[in-house]
Structures are given as C-alpha cells and as structure tokens.
C-alpha cells in the first residue's frame, strides 16, 4: 500500500510572539485539512522537542482538543531535532496498520525559551552523562565535526559558506521562510564566531512554526497525488566518541539505504533533496551519507554549483533549516510539505523539475536519522 499525502499546511516561520503553540498548530492543521477536503482523520501524531522543558507535555490531547478532533487518539513523538520526521513515520505506520487517515503536526515555539536556557535545552539531544556533563553547547559538538572535516579534507570556512548562501537565495521566493535576505560567502565568514570554526551564519536560527500533513491510505480521489514510496529510520551512538568514523553520519547513511531499498531507487533517481542543514557541516555530511557525494566530496558538490536549482541535486529549495528557519520539532514536517509542493508542481518561484524527492530529518548530531522518499503519482 502506497500511503498518499492528501493535504499540507504550514505557518510562516519566524518569531511568533503573538501566537501560542496550540494556535500555530491549528493554523497548520486547518491548512492541511482544508487542502485535503476535510476528510475524517482517526489519529494525530505531534512532533515536538522542547515544549515539555517549558512546562507543557501531553501535546497530543492539547492540540487534538484545540483543533476539534477529540476523542481521536493523539500522541507526541520525540527524537529531538528529528521529531517531525519521526512523527511523520509514526503516522505512516498508523495508516498502514489500520487503513485509516491520520494527521501529523510538527510544532515548536522557541521564543518561549529564554536564550540563556536554550543552550542548556538544545544539548539535551546529546548524551547528558557522557557529553553534556563536560559542558559543550550543541553548536560546539557540531564544530568538532567541521574542524575534523577541514583538517582531513583541507578545506576552508568559506567553502562551507556556499550552503547558507544557497539556502538564503532559495528562501527569497518562499512566502513562509523566516528570512528574505540574500547573503554572501563573505557575510558568512565575517559573521560572529559561535563555536569555532562555526560562524553565526552557518547556524540555523531559533524559530517558531508549525507544519502539518494529512496521510490517507490511498491516492484515489486526489488531484495531483504524492505518495510515500520509501521510509526508514536508523540510529547511531549519541556520543561522538562512540562513532566508527566522525565524518560519516552512519544513521543517515543507513536510513537512506533502507529508504532507497524500499523505493527500489537510488541517489540518481532523486530530483530534489530536503536535507537537515542545521549547521553547514551537517548539510555536507548529509549529502555524503545519502550517496550524492563520496566521503569528503560534499563541499565540492556545492563548489560545482550542483546543490542549486538546476544543479544535479537541488537542496533546501525553500530555504532549508538555515533560511526557511528551524522550528525544531516542526522541521521534519516542513520538509515533507515542501517536497509535496515540488512534486505537485506547486513550488512557485522555488519550483525545480521533480518527480521524486527525498527528505531527511536528523536528530542531535546524527544520533537519529529518518529518511522519506516521496513520488508524484499513485
């Protein structure tokens, strides 16, 4: 059974001081349900990382009540930064297991977290007893990977800058992106050092937002159906010290391998790739893990212009985490929303020629990876 996506919805990403978590969720879910023609949904899967740390767990019934689907079941799925992808995969299993329609909603309200606490909260994605206890921030853990990459492959900070430059350029045409501001490689290199060698403009921003999709057991009756042809998740050690190779995201590689296998496809078949560019280095390693470049070749791919629209593998076509914004638990669902728009031909100024697309949601510094392959048609 190829589960289809009958509708998608999303809020603008940004700093939503005037909207609560449940209000953002309602906007996204109403959008998705409207597009889908308001089908009867039997379950809601919520992707969220941080709300509990701010005093609100139990988002399943909270949101189900606010959008008016009580007593339907509703549960939260958490895999830190991959929570959105994980919630989508749970919804997929629900539809496959029961033959009934389901909603997925990713939501995060990072402006509820004071900046000082955010550092402490984001590092909950790492191993608290073995890494967190030594005091690294979350960017610092990613900086270790970037430093190693620069050492091993003799590249420079400005080589990585091509990723945020591409993301900001793509976001110019995306109405729900957080930033509509082109940046240059020089801007990136001259921006504040966050955790050397990571600069401010290598980092995705703190964002609020919510995205949603309606999953149905069959494509029948949908005008331009988009179906899920591959889905897989994998894990790696949380601690970087436990890794086989610091520069291979093994979970990303494994989840991509399994998703390709399920879809009977390979990297050469993917027309658009929404990857998890939380930091420039993660974009690079994701491209390599998903088979678009050899180990050490991700940066070269960008230097050759292949990640831009019209290139061999366009990434972050609506701005990615860097410029569309990264409302953590919602991000994996934004990726799905954006793939659906590309595959339907609804991409507007961001449209790339695409019949098959891939989204990859990464949790922590690669401890979790969840890959989905979507295709136009039933």
């Amino acid at each position: 059974m190829n589960v289809a996506i009958a509708g998608v919805g999303q809020t603008k990403v940004g700093e939503h001081w005037g909207l609560s978590l449940r209000e953002m969720s309602l906007q996204a879910i109403e959008g998705a349900l409207d597009e889908a023609g308001n089908p009867k949904v039997e379950a809601l899967f919520v992707g969220n990382m941080l709300a509990g740390l701010g005093g609100q767990l139990h988002l399943g019934p909270l949101i189900a009540d606010y959008v008016g689907i009580v007593p339907k079941e509703a549960v939260r799925v958490e895999a830190t930064c991959a929570s959105g992808g994980a919630a989508f995969r749970s919804a997929l299993h629900f539809v496959q297991a029961t033959g009934k329609a389901a909603l997925v909603c990713g939501v995060e309200k990072m402006t509820d977290v004071p900046p000082r606490e955010a550092t402490r909260e984001l590092v909950t994605a790492a191993d608290a007893e073995l890494e967190g206890v030594h005091g690294p921030s979350f960017p610092a853990l990613n900086a270790l990977l970037m430093r190693r990459y620069m050492h091993e492959f003799h590249c420079r900070v400005e080589d990585f800058a091509l990723f945020p430059v591409n993301a900001h350029k793509n976001a110019m045409h995306c109405e729900w992106a957080m930033y509509h501001r082109p940046i240059t490689a020089q801007d990136v290199c001259e921006s504040k050092s966050i955790s050397s060698p990571i600069r401010l403009l290598d980092c995705s921003p703190r964002s609020d937002g919510s995205a949603s999709a309606v999953l149905v057991p069959q494509a029948q009756g949908i005008d331009t159906p988009v179906t899920v042809v591959g889905s897989a998740a994998a894990t790696d050690t949380l601690t970087l010290a436990g890794r086989r190779d610091l520069l291979t995201l093994d979970a990303a590689r494994e989840s991509a391998r399994l998703a390709y296998e399920m879809a009977h496809l390979g990297p050469g078949d993917i027309d658009v790739f929404e990857l998890h560019d939380a930091f420039s280095i993660i974009a690079v390693l994701s491209l390599e893990a998903a088979g678009f470049a050899p180990r050490g070749g991700g940066v070269t791919l960008a230097m050759e212009g292949e990640i831009a629209p019209g290139g061999r593998i366009p990434i972050c076509t609506f701005g990615g985490l860097k410029a569309r914004g990264h409302p953590i638990g919602a991000t994996g669902v934004y990726q799905i929303v954006e793939l659906v728009k590309q595959l339907r031909g609804d991409g507007g100024g961001n449209q790339v020629p695409a019949e098959v697309g891939m989204a990859q949601s990464i949790g922590g510094v690669g401890g979790t990876a969840i890959t989905h392959i979507l295709a136009r048609g039933d």
Copy 2:
C-alpha cells in the same frame, strides 16, 4: 494479524539510586530478549515522561546504543503517564505495518527529580496555560474529581481506601513490587492529607523502574503465546473545565469501547484488569469507564469484594500503580508484563484464573487513555 508477545522483562520497582536510566532499561530489555530467545528486533519504542526535564531527551538512540541494537531505529513516545501504553501501541503499529519484530521499553527515574521540582514537573501533564498557571498540583486536580464523586454519590474517604488496601495486599507476592507491606483502610484514612480529600496512601509513589516486551508478527514458535487482540487509544480535553462530565473518563471509555470492538469482546469477557490507579479515584473511574460498573458504582464494586483475586474483576493483581509502584513512563509496559504473566499462568502467588486480560494506561487526569486486550493462545 494477531501480534504476539514473545518475551517480557522488568526491573524491581523502587528507589534505584545506584542505577541510571540506561542501566534500568538494559535490565528490562535483556530480560525480555532472553525470554523471547533473542530474536532479531528492528525497532525500539521508548515510553518516558520526565527524562527531558532532567536534561536528557533523545532516549531512543541512547538506549538503543546501550543495549547494542544500533543502527536499528529507536524513538520516544510521550503521553505523560500513558507513555508506556502509547509506546506499546506504536510498537504494535510498527509490527503490523512492517511485519518485523519490535521492542518496547518503558522507563522512568523519578529519584533523579528533586521532590520540590517533581510537583512542577508532574503538572506538565495538565494544560499549562489554562490550568497550570493557577497553581494546582497534579494531586489537586485529581482531588477535584474525588471531591465531586463523594458529593454526588454520598461516599466517604474510607470507601476509596479499599483500593490501596487491595493493591498492597496483592503486592505481597510480587517480587518486583516497590512495597511489601499490608495496609488497612484505617492506615489510609489516617495518612497525611496531600490534597483533600486525597490522602498519602491514596497516591501511587514516586518510583524508578523499567519494563520491556518483545512484539513479534506471529505467535508461531512461542510456547505459551499471548496475543494482542484489542488495541485503541483516545483523548479527552486536558482541562477539567472542558469536560462533558467531570465523573466520566471519556477517553478511557472510548478507548475501551474501541478495544472491545476490535477484539469482539465485552467487559464480561475480561478475567483480569490492570488499571491505572495513580490515585484511588482514578481506579474507581476507570472501572466505570471500562464498563465494569455503572457511573457511581465503582466504589460499590470494591465494597462487594469484586476487585480482589477471586472477585468478578480482579484489578492490580501485582500491586498496581499504588503498591507495585508507578515509574511513570514504564507503568503502561509493567501492566503488559503483568498481563502476560497472568495469561501464561506464570503469576505465582498472584495468579488468577485468566484467559483474557485488559490493561489501561491513562495520561494526565484522563486526557489520554490507551487500552489493550491480550489473550492466551494465537
């Protein structure tokens, strides 16, 4: 397809000052895998409520790594006090959708939470903006229900005391129970008032523990198979003020109704019921919601001795949340472990005659309810 439970494992419930969250999980998972003959499992679903508030999210890969199943997928499911039941239901969907074996592991380490913070953390199960902001503790919200029940049905604190008395009596024979100490109704009534009319001995204790089960797509090859014949989840408003009727747990009623429907069974077919006695009042309302007594009749059922082993519907046969203990995110999985033991005839001093059993996991003050019906045989 009737998914079967091939093995179960659990730690003793108690105050495990010397064991970390991952170490407890390992004990439970190793027990379950050993019993199941160490099958290849393809996924792990973790039920946990509070670890994130203590600084550790991302339990999926954390535990997957510690038990040695990386790169298999692993994710955390959260529905506050119903997280264990929710994780079990997610594992069930995974097995049904993929035809592969899965692990579920519920785990909670409440001794990591200082008592003063615990009050703040537990109320994250309620609606922070509409209830929490007014300052109630979690017991206080449950006390409102008990007060209303006493008013409407003219019963007394001592009538409710029969539930903790039964739980403590049953726990005497349970090696993994937190308490091995019989109590009397007088003890309950004379214990400290927590949130009037709730007394200390009406409350389940703060506990550490972990429980696990292995789910496989078929019962073939299992000596005494136990299969999942009914599974359903439902929601209610988080706010008590939003409820249709303060004394009906609508989510519990709906999830029981759907589980009965799926199993083609009714309350009369259930031989043993592991219910969510987080507070005495919730045990009463659960019995009513699941159809074992009419509205207002739950207390009477206890007074007539029908909840004890040998009664019409034995509950909390290994001590329940009250006396086995309530390691929150693990509790829903402990209920499954205990049902499996009853249905296999492995109940030891706690054995009741049983071919069909039901477990019900409740989140918050009934915002989530998840019901499973298990049966002996394939």
